[in-house]
């Protein structure tokens, strides 16, 4: 069995090198809808991919979190990106592959992926 002792060692190692960032007001927030509608459409692997890719790319200014029903159940899984000073971007009918591309192009590269956005669905 794995014990929490290992976590103690991890914490020791992190001590110091993690300057707990006091100011998170400039963070980009990525929010995944995780109500029944989102979960049923596959939100869990989307959320997990976002977390894994953001960690892998070491995007420290990005926080990934979950929310309830966004009110557009037919478009789930939905991912919303809130960047300070910019208009909200809503990605719809997401999957893990699209999520990885959003991390790469939007969160890392700064260019929102137009074809996954809500507006594109209406065109």
């Amino acid at each position: 069995m794995k014990s929490l002792e290992e976590l103690r060692e991890i914490k020791e190692k992190m001590q110091g090198q993690i300057g707990v960032r006091a100011d998170s007001s400039n963070d980009t927030r990525v929010v995944v809808g995780m109500a029944t509608c989102g979960i049923a459409s596959g939100a869990r692997p989307v959320l997990n991919t976002l977390v894994e890719e953001v960690n892998k790319e070491k995007l420290e200014h990005v926080t990934v979190s979950q929310t309830g029903c966004i009110g557009l159940c037919q478009f789930e899984p939905i991912v919303e990106v809130f960047e300070p000073g910019k208009e909200k971007v809503t990605y719809v009918k997401m999957n893990p592959e699209k999520a990885a591309i959003v991390v790469e192009q939007h969160l890392k590269g700064g260019k929102p992926v137009a074809e996954y956005m809500l507006d594109a669905e209406y065109r």
Binding site: K2, L4, A40
Partner: protein, 183 residues
Amino acid sequence: MLPEISLNILDISQNSIKAGAKLIEILVEIDRAKETLLFEIRDNGCGMNEEQVAKVVDPFFTSRTTRKVGLGIPFLKQAAEGTGGEFSIQSKVGVGTTVSALFHTDNIDCMPLGDITETIWSIVTMNDNLDFVYTYRCDGKEFQLDTREIRNIVGDISFSVPEVSSFIKDFLKENKQCVDKVE
């Protein structure tokens, strides 16, 4: 309808979070000889009165305002009972709510447990302002993840920090393998 038991656990625990719970206890108990799987989610959220409890199993009742139907609980009840199992919900205003579902895993209509490790990991690391006690038991062997113990060790470091987050995932994965192992 949610195709995995673990997705139902994710769904029900979101209800607990929305009910303002500070502590959420999740139990998954498997008995391979009896071919049963039980899960129970106990929270100390706002709770519901008797009238509301009676209504939650009705698909045309929901506390939400975004639409008029709530299907999470009714489908779960149907899925558990459809395997010859049981469903129960107990709640008290100001005390909390306990939801439990028993599945007969030998029934052809029983959905798979699914990825319980990924599920618990995402609940725990995404809500590190809340306390969780997750117990996984199989044929009498068990392990537990108590986020209060983790909090004691890491202090004010967020559970979503990669090092902590991946420790939690490994902890869940490896200990489940240990518990599942047939002696």
